[in-house]
Protein backbone atom coordinates (compact mmCIF):
# COMPACT_ATOMS: atom_id res chain seq x y z
CA UNK A 1 0.00 0.00 0.00
CA UNK A 2 1.30 3.41 -0.90
CA UNK A 3 1.13 6.05 1.80
CA UNK A 4 1.17 9.69 0.99
CA UNK A 5 3.48 11.79 3.12
CA UNK A 6 1.72 15.13 2.92
CA UNK A 7 0.89 16.99 6.08
CA UNK A 8 -2.82 16.38 5.63
CA UNK A 9 -2.37 12.65 5.38
CA UNK A 10 -0.13 12.61 8.46
CA UNK A 11 -2.66 14.62 10.43
CA UNK A 12 -5.57 12.38 9.45
CA UNK A 13 -3.56 9.28 10.41
CA UNK A 14 -2.84 10.80 13.78
CA UNK A 15 -6.52 11.65 14.19
CA UNK A 16 -7.56 8.08 13.36
CA UNK A 17 -5.18 6.68 15.98
CA UNK A 18 -6.52 9.15 18.52
CA UNK A 19 -10.11 8.09 17.82
CA UNK A 20 -9.17 4.42 18.09
CA UNK A 21 -7.43 5.01 21.44
CA UNK A 22 -10.52 6.82 22.69
CA UNK A 23 -12.80 3.98 21.61
CA UNK A 24 -10.53 1.40 23.26
CA UNK A 25 -10.60 3.44 26.48
CA UNK A 26 -14.38 3.61 26.27
CA UNK A 27 -14.50 -0.17 25.91
CA UNK A 28 -12.44 -0.61 29.05
CA UNK A 29 -13.88 2.26 31.09
CA UNK A 30 -16.74 0.38 32.80
CA UNK A 31 -14.47 -2.54 33.64
CA UNK A 32 -11.71 -0.33 35.03
CA UNK A 33 -14.22 1.67 37.04
CA UNK A 34 -15.59 -1.55 38.52
CA UNK A 35 -12.08 -2.69 39.44
CA UNK A 36 -11.40 0.65 41.15
CA UNK A 37 -14.71 0.54 43.02
CA UNK A 38 -13.92 -2.97 44.25
CA UNK A 39 -10.66 -1.85 45.86
CA UNK A 40 -11.93 1.43 47.28
CA UNK A 41 -13.74 2.07 50.54
CA UNK A 42 -17.54 2.07 50.57
CA UNK A 43 -17.66 5.63 51.88
CA UNK A 44 -15.52 6.91 49.02
CA UNK A 45 -17.68 5.03 46.51
CA UNK A 46 -20.93 6.37 47.94
CA UNK A 47 -19.50 9.88 47.99
CA UNK A 48 -18.93 9.54 44.25
CA UNK A 49 -15.15 9.97 44.46
CA UNK A 50 -14.12 6.84 42.56
CA UNK A 51 -13.57 7.09 38.83
CA UNK A 52 -10.48 5.47 37.36
CA UNK A 53 -8.24 5.51 40.43
CA UNK A 54 -8.79 3.79 43.78
CA UNK A 55 -9.64 5.90 46.82
CA UNK A 56 -8.69 4.62 50.31
CA UNK A 57 -7.32 1.51 48.67
CA UNK A 58 -8.18 -1.71 50.51
CA UNK A 59 -8.93 -5.30 49.64
CA UNK A 60 -11.51 -6.04 52.31
CA UNK A 61 -14.13 -6.91 49.67
CA UNK A 62 -11.92 -9.66 48.33
CA UNK A 63 -11.20 -10.89 51.85
CA UNK A 64 -14.95 -11.08 52.43
CA UNK A 65 -15.44 -13.11 49.26
CA UNK A 66 -12.82 -15.62 50.40
CA UNK A 67 -15.01 -16.39 53.42
CA UNK A 68 -18.25 -16.37 51.45
CA UNK A 69 -19.36 -20.01 51.34
CA UNK A 70 -22.38 -19.25 49.15
CA UNK A 71 -20.25 -17.58 46.52
CA UNK A 72 -17.83 -20.50 46.28
CA UNK A 73 -20.61 -23.08 46.29
CA UNK A 74 -22.15 -21.31 43.30
CA UNK A 75 -18.69 -21.07 41.73
CA UNK A 76 -18.30 -24.84 42.04
CA UNK A 77 -21.73 -25.46 40.53
CA UNK A 78 -20.64 -23.36 37.55
CA UNK A 79 -17.37 -25.27 37.22
CA UNK A 80 -19.34 -28.51 37.37
CA UNK A 81 -21.78 -27.43 34.69
CA UNK A 82 -18.99 -26.23 32.42
CA UNK A 83 -17.16 -29.56 32.74
CA UNK A 84 -20.20 -31.81 32.46
CA UNK A 85 -22.17 -29.70 29.99
CA UNK A 86 -19.11 -28.87 27.90
CA UNK A 87 -18.12 -32.54 27.61
CA UNK A 88 -21.64 -33.58 26.59
CA UNK A 89 -21.91 -30.70 24.12
CA UNK A 90 -18.63 -31.60 22.44
CA UNK A 91 -19.34 -35.33 22.29
CA UNK A 92 -22.75 -34.78 20.70
CA UNK A 93 -21.45 -32.09 18.34
CA UNK A 94 -18.79 -34.41 16.94
CA UNK A 95 -21.09 -37.44 16.80
CA UNK A 96 -23.77 -35.50 14.93
CA UNK A 97 -21.59 -33.37 12.65
CA UNK A 98 -19.90 -36.37 11.02
CA UNK A 99 -22.96 -38.25 9.67
CA UNK A 100 -24.51 -34.94 8.61
CA UNK A 101 -21.38 -34.04 6.65
CA UNK A 102 -21.92 -37.09 4.40
CA UNK A 103 -23.65 -36.48 1.07
CA UNK A 104 -27.26 -37.52 0.58
CA UNK A 105 -26.08 -40.43 -1.59
CA UNK A 106 -23.72 -41.67 1.10
CA UNK A 107 -26.37 -41.33 3.79
CA UNK A 108 -29.90 -41.30 2.43
CA UNK A 109 -31.61 -40.05 5.58
CA UNK A 110 -29.18 -37.14 5.86
CA UNK A 111 -31.51 -34.42 4.59
CA UNK A 112 -34.40 -35.56 6.78
CA UNK A 113 -32.22 -35.23 9.87
CA UNK A 114 -30.93 -31.91 8.61
CA UNK A 115 -34.39 -30.41 8.21
CA UNK A 116 -35.46 -31.54 11.69
CA UNK A 117 -32.31 -30.07 13.23
CA UNK A 118 -32.60 -26.74 11.42
CA UNK A 119 -36.27 -26.53 12.31
CA UNK A 120 -35.48 -26.89 16.01
CA UNK A 121 -32.99 -24.06 15.60
CA UNK A 122 -35.46 -21.69 13.96
CA UNK A 123 -38.65 -22.45 15.87
CA UNK A 124 -39.45 -23.18 19.49
CA UNK A 125 -42.49 -23.93 21.58
CA UNK A 126 -41.65 -21.09 23.90
CA UNK A 127 -40.52 -20.92 27.45
CA UNK A 128 -43.66 -22.20 29.21
CA UNK A 129 -43.87 -25.66 27.55
CA UNK A 130 -40.06 -25.90 27.80
CA UNK A 131 -40.24 -25.37 31.54
CA UNK A 132 -43.11 -27.85 31.91
CA UNK A 133 -41.28 -30.63 30.08
CA UNK A 134 -38.21 -30.23 32.26
CA UNK A 135 -40.25 -30.10 35.45
CA UNK A 136 -42.34 -33.15 34.41
CA UNK A 137 -39.08 -35.05 33.96
CA UNK A 138 -38.26 -34.30 37.61
CA UNK A 139 -35.11 -32.42 36.68
CA UNK A 140 -35.82 -29.24 38.69
CA UNK A 141 -33.00 -28.57 41.17
CA UNK A 142 -30.73 -31.06 39.45
CA UNK A 143 -27.47 -30.25 37.66
CA UNK A 144 -28.91 -32.15 34.68
CA UNK A 145 -31.46 -29.37 34.20
CA UNK A 146 -28.53 -27.05 33.40
CA UNK A 147 -26.87 -29.53 31.10
CA UNK A 148 -29.34 -31.71 29.18
CA UNK A 149 -31.90 -29.26 27.71
CA UNK A 150 -29.09 -27.51 25.82
CA UNK A 151 -27.07 -30.67 25.23
CA UNK A 152 -27.21 -30.34 21.44
CA UNK A 153 -25.69 -27.02 20.38
CA UNK A 154 -27.36 -27.00 16.97
CA UNK A 155 -25.45 -24.03 15.63
CA UNK A 156 -22.10 -25.60 16.55
CA UNK A 157 -23.14 -28.87 14.93
CA UNK A 158 -23.74 -26.99 11.68
CA UNK A 159 -20.41 -25.14 11.97
CA UNK A 160 -18.48 -28.37 12.44
CA UNK A 161 -20.49 -30.13 9.75
CA UNK A 162 -19.53 -27.42 7.26
CA UNK A 163 -15.90 -27.80 8.26
CA UNK A 164 -16.04 -31.60 7.88
CA UNK A 165 -17.54 -31.14 4.42
CA UNK A 166 -14.48 -29.17 3.39
CA UNK A 167 -12.03 -31.95 4.27
CA UNK A 168 -10.69 -33.44 1.01
CA UNK A 169 -12.11 -36.82 0.06
CA UNK A 170 -8.62 -38.26 -0.58
CA UNK A 171 -7.87 -38.15 3.12
CA UNK A 172 -10.49 -40.69 4.05
CA UNK A 173 -10.28 -42.78 0.89
CA UNK A 174 -7.21 -44.73 1.99
CA UNK A 175 -8.80 -45.54 5.32
CA UNK A 176 -12.02 -46.51 3.56
CA UNK A 177 -10.21 -48.94 1.26
CA UNK A 178 -8.51 -50.47 4.30
CA UNK A 179 -12.01 -51.26 5.56
CA UNK A 180 -12.27 -48.67 8.33
CA UNK A 181 -15.79 -47.92 9.59
CA UNK A 182 -17.27 -44.45 10.19
CA UNK A 183 -16.20 -44.26 13.84
CA UNK A 184 -12.61 -45.15 12.94
CA UNK A 185 -12.54 -42.62 10.12
CA UNK A 186 -13.98 -39.96 12.40
CA UNK A 187 -11.53 -40.71 15.21
CA UNK A 188 -8.34 -41.20 13.19
CA UNK A 189 -8.84 -38.72 10.36
CA UNK A 190 -11.52 -36.11 10.93
CA UNK A 191 -10.86 -35.26 14.56
CA UNK A 192 -7.07 -34.82 14.24
CA UNK A 193 -7.54 -32.65 11.15
CA UNK A 194 -10.15 -30.41 12.77
CA UNK A 195 -8.40 -29.72 16.08
CA UNK A 196 -8.45 -25.91 15.62
CA UNK A 197 -12.18 -25.97 14.84
CA UNK A 198 -12.86 -28.20 17.83
CA UNK A 199 -10.82 -25.86 20.04
CA UNK A 200 -12.86 -22.90 18.81
CA UNK A 201 -16.16 -24.62 19.49
CA UNK A 202 -14.98 -25.87 22.90
CA UNK A 203 -14.09 -22.33 23.94
CA UNK A 204 -17.46 -20.98 22.80
CA UNK A 205 -19.23 -23.79 24.64
CA UNK A 206 -17.29 -23.06 27.85
CA UNK A 207 -18.11 -19.34 27.68
CA UNK A 208 -21.76 -20.14 26.96
CA UNK A 209 -22.11 -22.41 29.97
CA UNK A 210 -20.19 -20.12 32.28
CA UNK A 211 -22.25 -17.05 31.33
CA UNK A 212 -25.69 -18.66 31.39
CA UNK A 213 -27.78 -17.39 34.27
CA UNK A 214 -31.35 -17.86 33.09
CA UNK A 215 -31.78 -21.63 33.40
CA UNK A 216 -30.43 -21.32 36.94
CA UNK A 217 -33.17 -18.82 37.80
CA UNK A 218 -36.01 -20.87 36.35
CA UNK A 219 -34.92 -24.46 36.89
CA UNK A 220 -33.06 -24.30 40.22
CA UNK A 221 -35.00 -23.24 43.30
CA UNK A 222 -32.54 -24.56 45.86
CA UNK A 223 -30.15 -21.68 46.61
CA UNK A 224 -27.38 -24.20 47.37
CA UNK A 225 -27.43 -25.45 43.80
CA UNK A 226 -27.55 -22.28 41.71
CA UNK A 227 -24.65 -21.52 39.35
CA UNK A 228 -22.50 -18.45 39.84
CA UNK A 229 -24.14 -16.15 37.27
CA UNK A 230 -27.56 -16.87 38.77
CA UNK A 231 -26.17 -16.15 42.21
CA UNK A 232 -24.83 -12.80 40.97
CA UNK A 233 -28.10 -12.00 39.25
CA UNK A 234 -30.02 -12.55 42.46
CA UNK A 235 -27.77 -10.22 44.43
CA UNK A 236 -29.85 -7.35 43.16
CA UNK A 237 -33.42 -6.99 44.33
CA UNK A 238 -35.90 -9.28 42.66
CA UNK A 239 -38.18 -7.53 40.20
CA UNK A 240 -41.23 -8.35 42.25
CA UNK A 241 -39.75 -6.67 45.28
CA UNK A 242 -38.94 -3.66 43.16
CA UNK A 243 -42.50 -3.47 41.87
CA UNK A 244 -43.65 -1.40 44.81
CA UNK A 245 -40.72 0.97 45.08
CA UNK A 246 -40.89 4.64 44.26
CA UNK A 247 -38.08 6.58 42.61
CA UNK A 248 -36.85 7.82 46.00
CA UNK A 249 -36.84 4.35 47.51
CA UNK A 250 -34.96 3.05 44.49
CA UNK A 251 -32.29 5.71 44.99
CA UNK A 252 -32.10 4.78 48.65
CA UNK A 253 -31.71 1.14 47.69
CA UNK A 254 -28.87 1.92 45.35
CA UNK A 255 -27.12 3.71 48.23
CA UNK A 256 -27.33 0.90 50.75
CA UNK A 257 -26.62 -1.96 48.37
CA UNK A 258 -23.08 -3.07 48.81
CA UNK A 259 -21.49 -1.71 45.65
CA UNK A 260 -17.88 -2.47 46.54
CA UNK A 261 -18.55 -6.08 47.50
CA UNK A 262 -20.75 -6.72 44.47
CA UNK A 263 -18.12 -5.23 42.18
CA UNK A 264 -15.51 -7.55 43.62
CA UNK A 265 -17.86 -10.50 43.16
CA UNK A 266 -18.56 -9.86 39.49
CA UNK A 267 -14.86 -9.34 38.87
CA UNK A 268 -13.94 -12.66 40.48
CA UNK A 269 -16.63 -14.30 38.34
CA UNK A 270 -14.85 -12.96 35.25
CA UNK A 271 -11.49 -14.54 36.09
CA UNK A 272 -12.13 -17.87 34.32
CA UNK A 273 -13.20 -16.02 31.16
CA UNK A 274 -10.09 -13.82 31.34
CA UNK A 275 -7.93 -16.92 31.78
CA UNK A 276 -9.16 -18.49 28.55
CA UNK A 277 -9.40 -15.15 26.72
CA UNK A 278 -5.95 -15.39 25.11
CA UNK A 279 -6.92 -18.75 23.62
CA UNK A 280 -10.33 -17.43 22.65
CA UNK A 281 -8.75 -14.58 20.76
CA UNK A 282 -6.33 -16.81 18.94
CA UNK A 283 -9.19 -18.91 17.61
CA UNK A 284 -11.62 -16.05 17.08
CA UNK A 285 -10.78 -15.43 13.43
CA UNK A 286 -10.84 -19.16 12.86
CA UNK A 287 -14.32 -19.38 14.34
CA UNK A 288 -15.56 -16.68 12.02
CA UNK A 289 -14.04 -18.39 9.01
CA UNK A 290 -15.60 -21.59 10.30
CA UNK A 291 -19.02 -20.02 10.30
CA UNK A 292 -18.05 -18.87 6.85
CA UNK A 293 -20.12 -15.94 5.75
CA UNK A 294 -19.82 -17.23 2.23
CA UNK A 295 -19.44 -20.78 1.13
Amino acid sequence: MIQSRTFGAQASRFLIILVLVLIACLSLAPIINTIMVSVSSSTAVNAGKVYFLPVDINFSSYAKILDDAKFWRAFLVSVERVALGGAINMLLTVLMAYPLSRTASQFRARNVYMWIIVFTMLFSGGIVPWYMVISKLGMINSIWALVLPGAVPVFNVILLMNFFKGIPKEMEEAAFIDGAGPLKILWHIFIPVSMPSLATITLFVIVGHWNNFFDGIVLINDSHKIPLQTYLQQLSLTRDQMQNLSVEQLQQYNKISNTTLNSAKILVSMIPILLIYPFLQRYLIHGIVLGSVKE
Binding site: A24, F107, R110, I127, L148, A151, N162, L250, L284
Partner: protein, 316 residues
Protein backbone atom coordinates in the same frame (compact mmCIF):
# COMPACT_ATOMS: atom_id res chain seq x y z
CA UNK B 1 -12.04 -65.89 -23.12
CA UNK B 2 -15.63 -66.35 -22.07
CA UNK B 3 -14.62 -68.04 -18.82
CA UNK B 4 -12.41 -65.08 -17.99
CA UNK B 5 -15.29 -62.70 -18.66
CA UNK B 6 -17.61 -64.80 -16.51
CA UNK B 7 -15.21 -64.85 -13.59
CA UNK B 8 -14.75 -61.07 -13.91
CA UNK B 9 -18.50 -60.62 -13.87
CA UNK B 10 -18.99 -62.72 -10.74
CA UNK B 11 -16.14 -60.84 -9.12
CA UNK B 12 -17.89 -57.57 -9.94
CA UNK B 13 -21.15 -58.93 -8.55
CA UNK B 14 -19.44 -60.04 -5.36
CA UNK B 15 -17.65 -56.72 -4.87
CA UNK B 16 -20.91 -54.90 -5.60
CA UNK B 17 -22.66 -56.92 -2.95
CA UNK B 18 -19.89 -56.25 -0.45
CA UNK B 19 -19.98 -52.57 -1.26
CA UNK B 20 -23.74 -52.47 -0.74
CA UNK B 21 -23.44 -54.39 2.52
CA UNK B 22 -20.75 -52.01 3.66
CA UNK B 23 -22.86 -49.01 2.74
CA UNK B 24 -25.79 -50.40 4.71
CA UNK B 25 -23.48 -50.97 7.68
CA UNK B 26 -22.15 -47.42 7.41
CA UNK B 27 -25.62 -45.93 7.19
CA UNK B 28 -26.64 -47.94 10.25
CA UNK B 29 -23.65 -46.50 12.12
CA UNK B 30 -24.66 -42.98 11.05
CA UNK B 31 -28.13 -43.50 12.50
CA UNK B 32 -26.64 -44.68 15.79
CA UNK B 33 -24.27 -41.71 15.93
CA UNK B 34 -27.19 -39.33 15.53
CA UNK B 35 -29.45 -41.19 17.96
CA UNK B 36 -28.44 -39.70 21.35
CA UNK B 37 -28.51 -36.14 20.05
CA UNK B 38 -31.80 -36.63 18.24
CA UNK B 39 -33.41 -38.13 21.35
CA UNK B 40 -32.35 -35.10 23.41
CA UNK B 41 -33.52 -32.70 20.69
CA UNK B 42 -36.83 -34.53 20.57
CA UNK B 43 -37.37 -34.31 24.32
CA UNK B 44 -36.27 -30.73 24.86
CA UNK B 45 -37.13 -29.06 21.53
CA UNK B 46 -39.80 -31.05 19.70
CA UNK B 47 -41.97 -32.13 22.66
CA UNK B 48 -42.30 -28.52 23.93
CA UNK B 49 -43.62 -27.57 20.48
CA UNK B 50 -46.69 -29.68 21.21
CA UNK B 51 -47.20 -27.52 24.28
CA UNK B 52 -48.24 -24.79 21.85
CA UNK B 53 -51.79 -26.18 22.06
CA UNK B 54 -51.92 -24.45 25.46
CA UNK B 55 -52.17 -21.16 23.56
CA UNK B 56 -55.57 -22.32 22.32
CA UNK B 57 -56.74 -23.58 25.71
CA UNK B 58 -57.68 -22.29 29.09
CA UNK B 59 -54.85 -24.33 30.54
CA UNK B 60 -55.07 -25.48 34.14
CA UNK B 61 -51.96 -27.35 35.37
CA UNK B 62 -53.97 -29.76 37.56
CA UNK B 63 -56.03 -30.89 34.55
CA UNK B 64 -53.10 -31.08 32.15
CA UNK B 65 -53.10 -30.53 28.40
CA UNK B 66 -55.65 -33.26 27.74
CA UNK B 67 -58.09 -32.21 30.46
CA UNK B 68 -58.06 -28.43 29.98
CA UNK B 69 -60.88 -26.67 28.14
CA UNK B 70 -60.42 -25.29 24.62
CA UNK B 71 -60.53 -21.54 24.35
CA UNK B 72 -60.23 -21.01 20.62
CA UNK B 73 -58.55 -17.71 19.89
CA UNK B 74 -59.61 -15.91 23.07
CA UNK B 75 -56.01 -15.75 24.32
CA UNK B 76 -55.04 -13.98 21.11
CA UNK B 77 -57.99 -11.59 21.07
CA UNK B 78 -57.22 -10.80 24.70
CA UNK B 79 -53.64 -10.04 23.68
CA UNK B 80 -54.73 -7.62 20.98
CA UNK B 81 -57.06 -5.83 23.37
CA UNK B 82 -54.54 -5.51 26.18
CA UNK B 83 -52.75 -2.15 25.93
CA UNK B 84 -49.70 -3.67 27.70
CA UNK B 85 -49.35 -6.27 24.98
CA UNK B 86 -49.42 -3.64 22.25
CA UNK B 87 -46.81 -1.65 24.12
CA UNK B 88 -44.42 -4.57 24.46
CA UNK B 89 -44.58 -5.24 20.72
CA UNK B 90 -43.71 -1.60 20.05
CA UNK B 91 -40.91 -1.65 22.65
CA UNK B 92 -39.47 -4.82 21.21
CA UNK B 93 -39.52 -3.47 17.68
CA UNK B 94 -38.01 -0.09 18.54
CA UNK B 95 -35.23 -1.54 20.70
CA UNK B 96 -34.39 -4.36 18.29
CA UNK B 97 -34.33 -2.12 15.20
CA UNK B 98 -32.21 0.44 17.04
CA UNK B 99 -29.72 -2.27 17.94
CA UNK B 100 -29.67 -3.62 14.39
CA UNK B 101 -28.98 -0.21 12.83
CA UNK B 102 -26.31 0.88 15.31
CA UNK B 103 -24.89 -2.63 15.39
CA UNK B 104 -24.45 -2.49 11.63
CA UNK B 105 -22.97 1.00 11.31
CA UNK B 106 -20.52 1.13 14.22
CA UNK B 107 -18.56 -2.03 13.33
CA UNK B 108 -18.22 -0.88 9.70
CA UNK B 109 -16.85 2.53 10.71
CA UNK B 110 -14.58 0.96 13.30
CA UNK B 111 -13.26 -1.64 10.85
CA UNK B 112 -12.53 1.10 8.29
CA UNK B 113 -10.65 3.14 10.90
CA UNK B 114 -8.69 0.10 12.05
CA UNK B 115 -7.87 -0.70 8.44
CA UNK B 116 -6.00 2.60 8.12
CA UNK B 117 -3.57 1.66 10.88
CA UNK B 118 -0.35 0.00 9.77
CA UNK B 119 1.17 -0.55 13.22
CA UNK B 120 0.50 -4.23 13.92
CA UNK B 121 1.02 -4.11 17.69
CA UNK B 122 -1.33 -1.17 18.08
CA UNK B 123 -3.93 -2.81 15.89
CA UNK B 124 -3.96 -6.10 17.76
CA UNK B 125 -3.98 -4.37 21.16
CA UNK B 126 -7.05 -2.37 20.19
CA UNK B 127 -8.71 -5.54 18.90
CA UNK B 128 -7.96 -7.43 22.11
CA UNK B 129 -9.59 -4.67 24.13
CA UNK B 130 -12.74 -4.17 22.06
CA UNK B 131 -13.52 -7.89 21.70
CA UNK B 132 -13.52 -8.43 25.47
CA UNK B 133 -17.04 -7.23 26.40
CA UNK B 134 -18.57 -9.72 23.95
CA UNK B 135 -17.46 -12.57 26.20
CA UNK B 136 -18.91 -11.14 29.38
CA UNK B 137 -22.41 -12.03 30.53
CA UNK B 138 -25.20 -9.49 30.82
CA UNK B 139 -25.39 -10.33 34.52
CA UNK B 140 -21.90 -8.93 34.96
CA UNK B 141 -22.34 -6.07 32.50
CA UNK B 142 -25.84 -5.30 33.74
CA UNK B 143 -24.49 -4.94 37.27
CA UNK B 144 -21.75 -2.67 35.98
CA UNK B 145 -24.12 -0.56 33.90
CA UNK B 146 -26.57 -0.24 36.77
CA UNK B 147 -23.78 1.02 38.98
CA UNK B 148 -22.35 3.41 36.41
CA UNK B 149 -25.67 4.88 35.24
CA UNK B 150 -27.40 4.97 38.64
CA UNK B 151 -28.36 8.28 40.24
CA UNK B 152 -25.10 8.51 42.17
CA UNK B 153 -23.08 6.56 39.64
CA UNK B 154 -20.03 7.63 37.70
CA UNK B 155 -21.85 9.09 34.70
CA UNK B 156 -23.97 11.34 36.87
CA UNK B 157 -20.91 12.37 38.87
CA UNK B 158 -19.20 13.41 35.66
CA UNK B 159 -22.32 15.26 34.48
CA UNK B 160 -22.34 17.17 37.74
CA UNK B 161 -18.67 18.10 37.35
CA UNK B 162 -19.68 19.82 34.13
CA UNK B 163 -22.54 21.54 35.89
CA UNK B 164 -25.25 19.39 34.33
CA UNK B 165 -28.23 17.97 36.13
CA UNK B 166 -28.28 14.42 37.50
CA UNK B 167 -30.62 12.05 35.68
CA UNK B 168 -32.15 8.74 36.72
CA UNK B 169 -31.18 7.03 33.47
CA UNK B 170 -32.37 3.60 34.57
CA UNK B 171 -35.73 4.84 35.80
CA UNK B 172 -36.42 7.28 32.98
CA UNK B 173 -38.71 6.26 30.16
CA UNK B 174 -37.01 8.82 27.93
CA UNK B 175 -33.52 7.42 28.51
CA UNK B 176 -34.00 3.70 28.96
CA UNK B 177 -34.32 2.64 25.31
CA UNK B 178 -31.32 4.66 24.09
CA UNK B 179 -29.38 3.28 27.03
CA UNK B 180 -30.20 -0.30 26.04
CA UNK B 181 -29.26 0.31 22.42
CA UNK B 182 -26.00 2.10 23.20
CA UNK B 183 -24.79 -0.34 25.85
CA UNK B 184 -25.60 -3.30 23.62
CA UNK B 185 -23.66 -1.72 20.77
CA UNK B 186 -20.81 -1.05 23.20
CA UNK B 187 -20.71 -4.76 24.08
CA UNK B 188 -20.94 -6.17 20.56
CA UNK B 189 -19.36 -3.70 18.10
CA UNK B 190 -15.82 -5.03 18.55
CA UNK B 191 -16.86 -8.58 17.88
CA UNK B 192 -18.90 -7.35 14.92
CA UNK B 193 -15.80 -5.89 13.25
CA UNK B 194 -14.17 -9.32 12.83
CA UNK B 195 -16.28 -10.19 9.81
CA UNK B 196 -15.48 -6.88 8.12
CA UNK B 197 -11.77 -7.15 8.88
CA UNK B 198 -11.84 -10.59 7.26
CA UNK B 199 -13.61 -9.12 4.23
CA UNK B 200 -11.07 -6.26 4.05
CA UNK B 201 -8.17 -8.70 3.72
CA UNK B 202 -9.86 -10.04 0.59
CA UNK B 203 -9.54 -6.75 -1.30
CA UNK B 204 -6.87 -6.81 -3.99
CA UNK B 205 -3.97 -4.51 -2.91
CA UNK B 206 -3.12 -3.65 -6.52
CA UNK B 207 -6.38 -1.69 -6.67
CA UNK B 208 -5.00 0.70 -4.05
CA UNK B 209 -1.68 0.96 -5.83
CA UNK B 210 -3.18 1.98 -9.14
CA UNK B 211 -5.56 4.36 -7.39
CA UNK B 212 -2.63 6.00 -5.58
CA UNK B 213 -0.77 6.34 -8.90
CA UNK B 214 -3.83 8.10 -10.27
CA UNK B 215 -3.55 10.49 -7.35
CA UNK B 216 -6.58 9.35 -5.34
CA UNK B 217 -6.47 10.39 -1.69
CA UNK B 218 -6.91 7.91 1.18
CA UNK B 219 -10.45 9.13 1.66
CA UNK B 220 -11.21 8.67 -2.04
CA UNK B 221 -9.67 5.19 -1.91
CA UNK B 222 -11.82 4.26 1.08
CA UNK B 223 -14.90 5.52 -0.71
CA UNK B 224 -14.23 3.91 -4.07
CA UNK B 225 -12.30 0.74 -3.26
CA UNK B 226 -12.69 -0.29 0.38
CA UNK B 227 -16.42 0.33 0.79
CA UNK B 228 -17.44 -1.39 -2.45
CA UNK B 229 -15.11 -4.24 -1.42
CA UNK B 230 -16.97 -4.94 1.79
CA UNK B 231 -20.41 -4.04 0.41
CA UNK B 232 -21.44 -7.68 -0.20
CA UNK B 233 -20.67 -8.46 3.45
CA UNK B 234 -22.63 -5.42 4.61
CA UNK B 235 -25.65 -6.39 2.50
CA UNK B 236 -25.46 -9.99 3.68
CA UNK B 237 -25.32 -9.09 7.38
CA UNK B 238 -28.05 -6.49 6.91
CA UNK B 239 -30.30 -9.07 5.28
CA UNK B 240 -29.66 -11.70 7.93
CA UNK B 241 -30.39 -9.21 10.71
CA UNK B 242 -33.98 -9.13 9.44
CA UNK B 243 -34.52 -12.27 11.48
CA UNK B 244 -33.73 -10.32 14.63
CA UNK B 245 -36.33 -7.55 14.51
CA UNK B 246 -38.26 -9.19 17.34
CA UNK B 247 -35.14 -10.08 19.35
CA UNK B 248 -34.58 -7.12 21.60
CA UNK B 249 -32.19 -9.09 23.82
CA UNK B 250 -33.75 -10.82 26.82
CA UNK B 251 -30.52 -11.13 28.83
CA UNK B 252 -29.74 -7.44 28.64
CA UNK B 253 -33.23 -6.13 29.35
CA UNK B 254 -33.77 -8.65 32.14
CA UNK B 255 -30.61 -7.48 33.88
CA UNK B 256 -31.15 -3.76 33.41
CA UNK B 257 -34.86 -3.02 33.62
CA UNK B 258 -37.13 -2.34 36.59
CA UNK B 259 -40.87 -1.70 36.92
CA UNK B 260 -40.41 2.05 36.51
CA UNK B 261 -39.39 1.57 32.88
CA UNK B 262 -41.75 -1.26 31.91
CA UNK B 263 -43.59 1.28 29.77
CA UNK B 264 -40.67 1.65 27.36
CA UNK B 265 -38.33 -1.21 28.25
CA UNK B 266 -40.51 -4.27 28.70
CA UNK B 267 -40.10 -6.56 25.69
CA UNK B 268 -41.94 -9.67 24.47
CA UNK B 269 -39.46 -12.10 26.02
CA UNK B 270 -39.45 -10.49 29.47
CA UNK B 271 -43.24 -10.12 29.35
CA UNK B 272 -43.72 -13.79 28.46
CA UNK B 273 -41.33 -14.78 31.25
CA UNK B 274 -43.22 -12.77 33.88
CA UNK B 275 -46.66 -13.78 32.63
CA UNK B 276 -45.81 -17.45 32.23
CA UNK B 277 -43.37 -18.35 34.94
CA UNK B 278 -44.06 -15.74 37.64
CA UNK B 279 -47.79 -15.03 37.32
CA UNK B 280 -48.59 -18.53 36.03
CA UNK B 281 -50.83 -17.36 33.18
CA UNK B 282 -49.63 -20.31 31.11
CA UNK B 283 -52.05 -20.08 28.20
CA UNK B 284 -51.75 -16.35 27.70
CA UNK B 285 -47.94 -16.41 27.94
CA UNK B 286 -47.77 -19.28 25.45
CA UNK B 287 -50.00 -17.36 23.05
CA UNK B 288 -47.82 -14.25 23.17
CA UNK B 289 -44.68 -16.37 22.81
CA UNK B 290 -46.19 -18.25 19.88
CA UNK B 291 -46.99 -14.99 18.13
CA UNK B 292 -43.34 -14.01 18.40
CA UNK B 293 -42.03 -17.45 17.37
CA UNK B 294 -44.18 -17.55 14.24
CA UNK B 295 -43.30 -14.02 13.09
CA UNK B 296 -39.60 -14.58 13.80
CA UNK B 297 -39.65 -17.89 11.97
CA UNK B 298 -41.16 -16.31 8.86
CA UNK B 299 -38.66 -13.42 9.00
CA UNK B 300 -35.68 -15.75 9.36
CA UNK B 301 -36.81 -17.92 6.46
CA UNK B 302 -37.36 -14.85 4.29
CA UNK B 303 -33.97 -13.39 5.21
CA UNK B 304 -32.20 -16.69 4.44
CA UNK B 305 -34.02 -16.91 1.12
CA UNK B 306 -32.96 -13.36 0.24
CA UNK B 307 -29.39 -14.01 1.39
CA UNK B 308 -29.08 -17.17 -0.64
CA UNK B 309 -30.61 -15.54 -3.70
CA UNK B 310 -28.55 -12.36 -3.72
CA UNK B 311 -25.37 -13.31 -1.87
CA UNK B 312 -25.12 -17.04 -2.45
CA UNK B 313 -25.20 -17.58 1.30
CA UNK B 314 -26.04 -21.03 2.62
CA UNK B 315 -25.81 -22.30 6.15
CA UNK B 316 -25.89 -25.97 5.23
Amino acid sequence: MSSLEASLNTERQVSGRIRRKRKAYHEMTYHFMLLPGMVLLFIFSIVPMFGIVMAFQKFIPAKGIFGSKWAGLTNFTYMFQLPDAKQIFVNTLVIAVGKIILGLIVPIVFALLLNEVRLKVFKSTVQTIVYLPHFMSWVVLGTMMTMIFSYDGMVNNILQLFGLERTMFLASNAWFRPLLIVTDTWKEFGYGTIVYLAALTGINPSLYESAALDGASRWKQTLNITLPGILPTIILLGTLSLGNVLNAGFDQVFNMYNPLVYQTGDIIDTFVYRMGLIQMQYSFATAVGLMKSVISFVLIVVSYKLASKYAGYRIF
